[in-house]
């Protein structure tokens, strides 16, 4: 098998759904499958961190298990999250924030792949949170999207610009606030963090 000539599947790179610029724009998104963990709590808290660890552990275990079995290779996508209350009034108490952290996954990944990965991780003693990982399919359809550069707690300015933009197009926000993390907050200074913000919209 000539693996080097084989083009590796990459759901992120070159995908127009992820080509955001600082100026808000409309983007049409299709159905997408994710590995996801739902939770409540501050993004600085332990539950959020555990969920991300469980997601990455599961994502890489599934990828490598399939690759080892000769089922093809693909790139593990960026971390994303839904914040259902964030484009309305999330409240000042971060410990009550609801979120779904997720990693986009090729459609051929099955519930069986997920169960197998959770089992093998648990057997290794690396199973913290893996039983909360689920496969999720969403279809956001038409969205307003913009690239936010800067700290997460200054997103409101970018969201306001997106709301104005939606209004100019006679559209309104109609779904969970969606964030796609292009930078690693542990290693990139807050002023340089890049995050794609996405808001599903409907007419009216």
């Amino acid at each position: 098998m000539n693996t080097e000539a084989e083009e590796k599947l990459d759901l992120f790179k070159g995908n127009p759904e992820y080509a955001a610029k600082p100026k808000p724009a409309l983007v049409k998104t299709g159905p997408a499958v994710y590995l996801a963990v739902d939770g409540v709590g501050s993004p600085d808290g332990a539950a959020f961190g555990e969920a991300i660890g469980a997601l990455y552990g599961t994502a890489f275990t599934i990828k490598m298990t399939r690759k080892f079995a000769g089922l093809g290779d693909y790139a593990v996508s960026k971390l994303e999250a839904l914040w259902p209350e964030m484009n309305g009034n999330p409240g000042a108490d971060k410990t009550q924030w609801k979120w779904t952290v997720m990693i986009r996954t090729p459609e051929f990944v099955t519930a069986g792949d997920l169960t197998k990965a959770a089992n093998v991780l648990s057997k290794r003693g690396k199973g913290a949170g893996v039983n909360k990982v689920r496969l999720m399919r969403i279809n956001e359809g038409l969205c307003v999207q913009a690239l936010h550069v800067g700290p997460y707690d200054q997103e409101c300015r970018t969201v306001a610009a997106m709301k104005d933009f939606a209004g100019q197009h006679r559209l309104r926000f109609a779904g969970a606030h969606h964030e796609i993390y292009l930078s690693d907050p542990r290693r990139v200074e807050p002023a340089k963090l890049k995050t794609i913000l996405r808001e599903p919209v409907r007419k009216g």
């Binding site: 693996t3 590796k8 990459d10 992120f12 790179k13 660890g53 469980a54 990455y56 552990g57 599961t58 890489f60 275990t61 990828k63 490598m64 298990t65 690759k67 080892f68 079995a69 790139a75 593990v76 996508s77 960026k78 990965a117 093998v120 991780l121 057997k123 290794r124 003693g125 690396k126 199973g127 913290a128 893996v130 690693d184 290693r187």
Partner: protein, 301 residues
């Protein structure tokens, strides 16, 4: 605490430069050069390149050619004799090297007037007696470096022997085999230990270990072995950019930052920690932490 100064480093490197010039007829292996001034052989080539601005091998080759150039001017010896003295086995090979260094063939050079050696970063050229000073580069002196104390780390590893740009194969195999067994859970570290310098060792002989941190439960099997990365103090700097720029960063780190740091390197190889996934990160955003082992500081009696 007893600390070493930039002056100490320069004095020791100068000893090496003088030794090179006085032994141009000998093979001058790296271990010997490192030993001349008590540099750790693991890191000597990078310290040299960073301080002097040229790889050791290049430097030695250049000095041999410059000595040959001087002999062409000052002695009646035949070109072939001078070529042999410079370590070349044929007239042709010598002429080729000579031309690329001085822009003309040895016979033309002999007749030409007022030729000069090309500028080099260190400012050191062949002369009798050997030069007693050299220019050190300082760019890397301003790098952001952190001193970290590590506990010993147990790592599963796969050895790659061959060109550095093919280490991806070892990674592919290691991560696939370890990944399906669940060892990629719990956010393990991915380390690369390069036992040889791609700029010194022939590509086919470069030894590189692709390593993944594991706990005591891991049992090595097949091509995957286990080793322990020594604990202790390390100087750590982060490179953001393509992996093929690492050679330059190592040279600045060990040859320019280190001599100004008051510290010396320990007798074990450096290692790299890959912070993000090369499978999904653009080359210019790749982050690599370079860990250089430090020798324990001696207490002053």
């Amino acid at each position: 605490m007893k600390t070493v100064t930039l002056g100490d480093y320069k004095r020791r490197m100068l000893q090496v430069l003088v030794h090179i010039q006085q032994h141009l007829d000998e093979p001058l292996p790296l271990e010997e050069l490192a030993g001349v001034a008590c540099f750790s052989p693991y890191h000597f080539h990078r310290v040299f390149k960073g301080m002097v601005g040229e790889p050791v091998k290049e430097y030695v080759r250049r000095l041999r050619l410059e000595r040959a150039a001087q002999r062409l001017k000052l002695s009646p010896a035949s070109v072939i004799d001078i070529a042999l003295d410079a370590g070349y086995e044929s007239h042709e090979a010598f002429t080729r090297s000579f031309k690329s260094a001085f822009g003309m063939a040895p016979s033309q050079f002999r007749m030409a007037r007022g030729v000069r050696f090309a500028r080099v970063p260190s400012g050191v050229h062949y002369c009798e007696p050997p030069s007693k000073r050299f220019r050190t580069l300082s760019r890397g002196g301003r790098m952001r470096v952190e001193i970290k104390t590590l506990k010993p780390m147990r790592v599963a590893f796969m050895r790659h022997t061959g060109p550095y740009d093919e280490v991806g194969k070892a990674w592919d195999l290691l991560l696939t085999v370890m990944g399906k067994e669940g060892y990629l859970g719990g956010n393990p570290m991915m380390l690369g230990i390069c036992h040889d310098d791609p700029e010194v060792t022939p590509p086919a002989m470069i030894r590189y270990d692709a390593c993944l941190t594991v706990d005591d439960g891991f049992v090595p099997s097949g091509e995957i072995g286990v080793q322990t990365v020594a604990g202790g103090e390390y100087a750590v700097t982060t490179h953001t950019g393509p992996y093929n720029q690492l050679g330059k960063i190592y040279a600045e780190f060990l040859g320019q930052w280190l001599p100004r740091s008051g510290r010396e390197l320990g007798n074990s190889p450096c290692f790299e920690v890959y912070v993000n996934d090369p499978g999904s990160t653009p080359a210019e955003e790749l982050m690599t932490d370079i860990y250089a082992p430090l020798r324990e500081q001696e207490a002053v009696r």
